[in-house]
């Protein structure tokens, strides 16, 4: 539901990936693109095609996604000083990306032009004009990212304004004012936006904030109040240094606090899911305090808060957490927990008539498992097995009796740092009373265990060869316990039709992996 009032523009895949510790594969980037599309964002900055081959591959594979809501933009700089657009390799790479949008970053600061770009103010204006015009002539939507606009405005207001006016004259579709160094206070930012509004009448403004002064979200919203149209940000506030403005927080504030319907209600209800999805893919530790989407965002601890909440669940929360797909976590609020559990059972299609006592028992079991490091939010298949195992008459399709893993590393040849590694697993599995013992070698201990288990199951369940594990993730829980820490393993599997995820947790990574693997196999072999 794009509104004419505000346009959301996501730069997670470009500026967000500049965050320390983030390294996204092409596959990760494609999956995030699909997620952002589902969330209902209008524009996605896909990457910097001139900068690395990974981004070029991303753009090549992009059309296969068939996006429903979002358009994608390729990012890059204005042409280099004293080149033409035709002779600048970066400009050619951007065009080759084949996207409907082009986001051009150009300097909007006299100091940056002279000191960092080391060219003349006039040449910089020519670079802006010619590059914008070049892409407009190709029929692209062109966003001009006015880098260092706010710092530039403080140093030499007229030149900063000239830069954006030049881009406007060349036909840019929006002039995005960038607080590149992230240090602006709100009043200083609003003064510069006011001047930009006075100078440029026919082209809409955008805002791109960084969080170095802890004000990125607030400044983005203040810019919207001041009439700015396009708002740029990143999922979970990723980005260089202190991060970019968190687009999820902005989105929720726009819709829930400012009444600007940037996305549909059903899309907003997936906000927490998007946050988690991105963290999982990038293996970032989620920020429990993240507004709206954090695990603690609606968690209540103080005794008098909890007492208040028992009288009215909104006594200590600013919105209904369900609006953003989150939930409150009042441990004493057993009712809320039971409701969640019942909803989940319905969702999974388990229609066994549980008694009140059984539900209570099940809730206890889930809580116990969660305290051991399990998390069922992303692992519905393990959750379903947990429930089914409590039902009368359930029989597991197989039982693992024992396993042994032997892993060896021998000294390498002289001069080579690495020796040869060998990982082997031996398993004993029982199926309806029959015992099967076998062994396999893998390229790691978990892989060996996986191969040995399938080998043992195959005589009984020939279909097991159709099973594929498609994803394997490890999360260290109490990472400060170092190599003695508890780990959680998530495994995603498919039989070519269905996909399911299972979870295991232990201080021993092999054991945690086995538990997730065993659930994955058990779920696959459940009688239809």
């Amino acid at each position: 539901m794009p509104t004419d009032r505000v346009q959301l523009y996501d730069t997670t895949l470009r500026d967000g990936s500049q965050m320390e510790g983030i390294s996204l594969s092409v596959e990760d980037k494609l999956r995030i693109t699909r997620k952002l599309d589902e969330l209902g964002l209008e524009w996605i900055e896909g990457g910097f095609p001139g900068s690395n081959p990974k981004d070029a591959e991303y753009f090549r594979r992009l059309p296969s996604l068939n996006l429903k809501n979002a358009k994608v933009s390729a990012f890059g700089g204005t042409r280099k000083p004293n080149l033409t657009c035709e002779s600048d390799q970066n400009i050619q790479s951007m065009a080759a990306a084949g996207t409907p949008g082009i986001t051009l970053v150009g300097k909007a600061s006299m100091y940056q032009v002279q000191r960092i770009l080391e060219t003349s103010p006039e040449e910089n204006l020519a670079m802006i004009f010619e590059t914008v015009r070049h892409f407009k002539d190709m029929g692209k939507t062109v966003f001009f990212d006015a880098e260092h606009f706010f710092d530039g405005f403080i140093g030499d207001p007229d030149y900063a304004l000239q830069c954006i006016a030049t881009a406007a004259r060349a036909g840019a579709d929006a002039l995005v004012l960038c607080d590149t160094n992230g240090g602006m206070t709100t009043p200083a930012m609003l003064r510069a936006i006011g001047a930009a509004n006075d100078r440029v009448h026919d082209v809409r403004l955008g805002i791109h904030c960084h969080n170095d002064a802890g004000l990125a979200v607030a400044n983005s919203l203040a810019a919207v109040e001041a009439g700015v149209w396009q708002v740029q940000g990143c999922i979970n506030g990723w980005g260089e240094r202190c991060g970019n403005a968190d687009i999820l927080t902005i989105l929720a504030n726009l819709k829930l606090k400012m009444g600007i319907d940037v996305i549909e209600d059903e899309q907003l209800a997936r906000l927490a899911e998007v946050a988690t999805f991105a963290n999982e893919l990038a293996n970032m530790v989620p920020n429990p305090q993240a507004p709206y989407v954090g695990a603690s965002a609606f968690a209540h601890k103080a005794g008098y808060h909890v007492a208040g909440i028992m009288k009215d669940e909104n006594a200590y929360q600013h919105i209904d957490p369900g609006l953003v797909g989150n939930h409150s976590r009042v441990l004493v609020s057993e009712l809320a927990g039971q409701r969640n559990l019942l909803m989940k059972l319905a969702e999974q299609g388990i229609d066994y008539p549980f008694s009140q006592a059984e539900i209570k028992q099940l809730l206890e079991t889930v809580k116990q498992k969660e305290s051991e490091g399990y998390q069922y939010e992303g692992a519905e298949a393990s959750f379903e097995l947990l429930v089914r195992r409590t039902l009368p008459g359930y029989r597991a399709p197989f039982e693992l009796e024992d396993f042994v893993i032997v892993e060896r590393r021998r000294k390498g040849a002289e001069g080579s740092q690495l020796g040869e590694m060998l990982a082997e697993a031996m398993v004993k599995i029982r199926v309806s009373g029959e015992l099967e013992q076998t062994a396999a070698e893998g390229n790691g201990p978990v892989n060996a265990l996986d191969l040995a288990a399938r080998k043992a199951l195959k005589p009984f369940f020939p279909n097991v060869s159709n099973l594929k594990l498609v994803d394997y993730k490890v999360r260290i829980l109490d990472s400060q316990a170092a190599t003695g820490a508890r780990v959680r393993v998530l495994i995603e599997s498919t039989d070519g039709v269905r996909y399911w995820t299972t979870v295991g947790s232990s201080t021993d990574i092999i054991e945690a992996s086995w538990l997730a693997l065993a659930d994955a196999l058990e779920y696959a072999l459940l009688p239809g």
Copy 2:
């Protein structure tokens, strides 16, 4: 250097400790108090003496600190409905704390009074008046925390204003307007502050923000712009749900951006130290993106940013990081080129005169390693070892010849899902020609290997027992290769003085862990 313009009031020890995962001992609270005093804050909310015996002990031991700058306040509610101050046990506990300040929280919302407090609007006003007067009669400085003031103002503006006017009439020294649920936008907050300014002329206002809409810092600063005097917040933005306003960010913004000298320059230069100190004491994982004080706050990754920084170190940072006791860092990553490498070598103090060809070779090695899954941006110690190993005359302090890991899982007792796990490691290590072979058992294969390696090294390097691994992270790289995927392991270690991080990568998680572990040990044992 207290200014008359703004008074800083820290509530880390009370509201901050409501954060999920935080539990401070009395000793911790006393140490944080001393740190806040050194930082130059004016008021510290010490705790809730009526709520638990730990806080009562804190107040007993407090005088021994001999604070130089800060005064301490005891927190608690107005008297209960239909009691007198004399008969209310909480009021008595607050007085017993013996602090110069008393911070009284009272409802300032009609809805909260009727629905949650379940008393009459008149009785609530009487509770506010009598309790403030009670403590003023004892000669205390009294701060009135107007709980739910902003939500209350939206629901019933006149009653919210009556509540603060009543506290003013009773002699309160400041009326602290609380955004208890943390959901206010800045314009909505400013409207309510304007009304409060109109209603109360003779008593100063304070502001207490929560971060549920991601606006706590911005709203606090906007309140200061609107004339508010006392600003409340917590170290590192701790606090219930999404946290309180981060007092460190506020402080830096006031001093560096708004020119309000709330503390001395020398005190500001300890900002990062205070953030780290608090995280260490509370055992919280630090937020690398924290404005001003985070480990990534001045970290540069994008190649064109780094290129800019080589021309002027402030090209991509909003302040000199030294002002807040932080420092800038250049991250080595696949996006970066030779410039990043050279800056990194300088930063690590490696001043070997590399030739152009050697630098090129080194960059090739880094790129090769990164394509194998290594990532050096968080693993400076492994990076340094990588470089040192290319220098003439480098000799590793030890060599691992072989290891064997055996891991067994035996069938559990009937009915138990888990069998017994056993993980053992055998290692052979060579130190200056001498071979040491030994073995150990751990709570997982990596832990066993870690313990065995230290055991083998101990005869040669007794200091190895001082080493502690403080963090262990696993990242699956091409997670879609499932259990055959490549993994990267990061290990952070300390000898009690220095901290360093190392990395290992392999398809085999044990091998990846070993490589990171071996680097951690090698780095520790490098001849000074």
